[in-house]
């Protein structure tokens, strides 16, 4: 028997999940940054990567957020239809966000779009953003916390291109966007690309593609090839870490696609700064938690 309600256990786990995301970069991102540093022969670029890596180590030692921009918070929720808590989840995620803001602490980043007023707790209209998926014949709750910094939002874009222009023009859009972004989105970035669907769907696919670990290719063979091609082309631009020149402008490119309308071809490009902060946990129906991206959190949880 659990001595606290399942609602409270979920809330506590989500606070931990936000803490994991804000302070500890996922191992795949850390590995990619170290690999980029070791590959780099431009001393200015190497110095930027050294500072990034040292910063991440300090964040872990001191238990502080990696970046002062602790992001606007999104949750990706997959809930099994047999998991006992469903309707209350949105309120629980909101409460956990408010607590995490105070306890970690996080910077309050949620601002009223018209008045500019900041409620001070990282919540607001549709914030935190929650993406829902209901999983049939399943009794688990899976949540990914994905706080995203504002600097890497600036260069994001979406456009519906002519189907006759197609993939060639989509590639051009991605490369133009990276060149135009230059140092602004804190490269080396991870870039998500969404192709097809309707425009809103393309943007959603591009953003969700960022959740895939670095180095993991799409399960669609031609899309996987496109990812490799785009990554090579982007890194041949020579923007480099923080735009000082160098080999690594992007750590990875993740592409996803949906069937499109014959008359339209939507393309979305979403940037993430080098600090790709994502953390995932799975909770069973009894409230047992596994922080699958941050296994060491399992010890702290018990």
């Amino acid at each position: 028997m659990l001595d606290v309600s399942l609602d409270k256990r979920i809330e506590d786990a989500i606070v931990m999940l936000l803490k994991a995301a804000s302070i500890y970069l996922p191992q795949d991102v850390k590995n990619a940054l170290i690999k980029a540093r070791d590959l780099e022969d431009n001393p200015l670029a190497k110095a930027q990567l050294d500072a990034i890596i040292e910063n991440c180590e300090l964040a872990e030692v001191e238990g502080k957020p990696i970046c002062q921009d602790t992001g606007l918070i999104s949750f990706y929720v997959s809930v099994g239809d047999e998991f006992p808590v469903k309707g209350a989840l949105a309120d629980i995620l909101r409460r956990a966000t408010i607590r995490a803001t105070r306890e970690i602490p996080l910077r309050p980043n949620s601002v009223d779009v018209l008045s500019g007023k900041n409620p001070g707790d990282n919540t607001g209209r549709y914030v935190p953003h929650i993406d829902w998926e209901l999983i049939p014949n399943n009794s688990e709750l899976k949540v990914t916390a994905f706080p995203k910094g504002g600097g890497s939002e600036g260069p994001c874009l979406a456009k519906v291109i002519l189907p006759t222009e197609g993939l060639k023009y989509a590639k051009k859009m991605v490369l133009d966007a990276v060149a135009e972004a230059g140092p602004k989105p804190c490269p080396p970035t991870v870039i998500g690309v969404g192709l097809g669907g309707t425009m809103d769907f393309a943007v959603k696919l591009a953003k969700k593609a960022l959740l895939r670990p670095i180095g993991v290719r799409s399960d669609v063979e031609d899309i996987a090839k496109l990812e490799v091609e785009l990554l090579e082309l982007i890194n041949s631009l020579g923007i480099g870490p923080h735009g000082v020149g160098g080999r690594t402008t992007a750590l990875d490119v993740h592409v996803d696609c949906a069937h499109r309308h014959p008359a339209s071809y939507a393309v979305a490009v979403v940037f993430n700064c080098w600090a790709v902060r994502r953390s995932t946990m799975i909770m069973d129906s009894k409230g047992n938690v596994d922080f699958i991206t941050h296994k060491f959190m399992n010890e702290l949880w018990r």
């Binding site: 602490p105 140092p183 000082v244």
Partner: protein, 195 residues
């Protein structure tokens, strides 16, 4: 280098130089730039005299301990957003160093040249590293703008490394990188993808 910075100190710097700063840094982002300019345009004065000081494009994470503000982490924000206001800001406040990330444009280069200022970058996202050079919060103004947008007056010691990317002689480090990026894009990459 130490604040207050003199024009003489600043004129010695060239793009690519790396400096460490001790003294006073004042954070100012979008909203703080706008408010400061509207006050100065109508002949008012700011809550702190920025002459010779460094302006930091930063919205820190802060915490209140025993009724005192402490900086938790404080890396730079993207400077481009302040670009349209920076010429007038440098002109009217007499600030000598702008610290940010992501680079700034031609008008800011002009202001740095004319009024003897520099733009330096700190590694974006390296917010814990940045906070290590910060000793204490001296004052905070305009908290009504929200924590990220307020003017945080911070005492720093050996704050850096800061790389000069716009000097006071009309040079912009990012311009040369940018020209090469666009040359590669048009001459090498477009032919590869067939556009």
């Amino acid at each position: 280098m130490k604040t207050p910075l003199s024009e003489e100190d600043i004129r010695k710097l060239k793009v690519g130089d790396v400096v460490y700063l001790s003294g006073i840094v004042v954070t100012a982002r979008d909203a703080a730039h706008s408010r400061a300019l509207s006050i100065l345009r109508s002949g008012g004065s700011l809550p702190i005299d920025l002459k010779g000081l460094a302006i930091y494009h930063c919205g820190p994470v802060v915490d209140k301990k025993d009724d005192k503000w402490v900086v938790v982490v404080a890396g730079p924000t993207t400077s481009t957003r302040m670009d349209p206001l920076e010429y007038e800001f440098i002109e009217k406040t007499g600030a000598k160093m702008i610290i940010g990330k992501g680079g700034m444009g031609a008008r800011t280069v002009e202001a740095c040249k004319k009024f003897g200022a520099v733009y330096t970058i700190f590694t974006g996202g390296a917010a814990v590293l940045a906070a290590k050079g910060m000793k204490r919060v001296l004052e905070v103004h305009w908290l009504d703008l929200g924590i990220p947008e307020a003017l945080w007056v911070i005492e720093v010691e050996n704050f850096g490394p800061l790389m000069v990317t716009i000097d006071s002689h009309g040079n912009n480090f990012y311009d040369s990188i940018n020209r090469e990026v666009y040359r590669r894009l048009r001459e090498e990459i477009y032919p590869k993808i067939g556009v």
